[in-house]
Symmetry: C2
Subunit: 104 residues, 2 copies
Amino acid sequence: MESCCSMKGFLTFIVLRLISKKNMSGEEVREEIRKRKGTRPSPGTVYPVLKYLNKSGFIEEIKHKGKIKKYKITKKGKKELNEATQKFCMLFYDMKDDLSRRCY
Amino acid sequence: MESCCSMKGFLTFIVLRLISKKNMSGEEVREEIRKRKGTRPSPGTVYPVLKYLNKSGFIEEIKHKGKIKKYKITKKGKKELNEATQKFCMLFYDMKDDLSRRCY
DNA sequence: TATTTTATATCGGATATGCGATATTGGAAA
DNA sequence: TTTCCAATATCGCATATCCGATATAAAATA
């Protein structure tokens, strides 16, 4: 165990959540996570997650110029995210105060 | 992958957080997590986490009647938790609204 | 056109994570 | 005391998670 509370896991949740807020490419996802965590996840981390979400029908490619692929969340993805968010809230409901106090 | 957003990980964080709020035994930790997640983590899940937290100096045993061991967070544990909470907030700062809206 | 850069894709592997099964141990109850 | 139960402890394992390395391919630039 690298350190206590290593904050591993939840990546799929985070990515789906990011895309639900704004259509994004893989690189944009990487950059947004870097902003939040300080470290940029490697391509080998992000692209398999996108592939999985796409294959599962939770996100879909949208037309975009160039080779950049942008994704948007699907109806099925919204349902999935909604359920996952509910679980998240059950688990962390008392983080409310911390989040309000510490975050801009 | 069992399903999207499987909510794995973060268990160590959750356990340390629970103990920081109230001195707890292993069984109490299991029960509190059951309340939140719906499923009770197995002994093989919880006790190794307690052992790790104890060995790391983040929690310590307190006297208690019977064979039940209760733990309390240490000063070092508070520091650790504080840092972990900060990371958590950076990562999930925009869950604030969901938490407020969905949770009692 | 040739070269470089950038975005995406994939694969193997190291490590973390949590579980099931089982053992142990102290107290309660018979 | 003997039996039973509940809390703790440990071990091996299946799986998830993420990364580094590498490949591919398209666009930008020289």
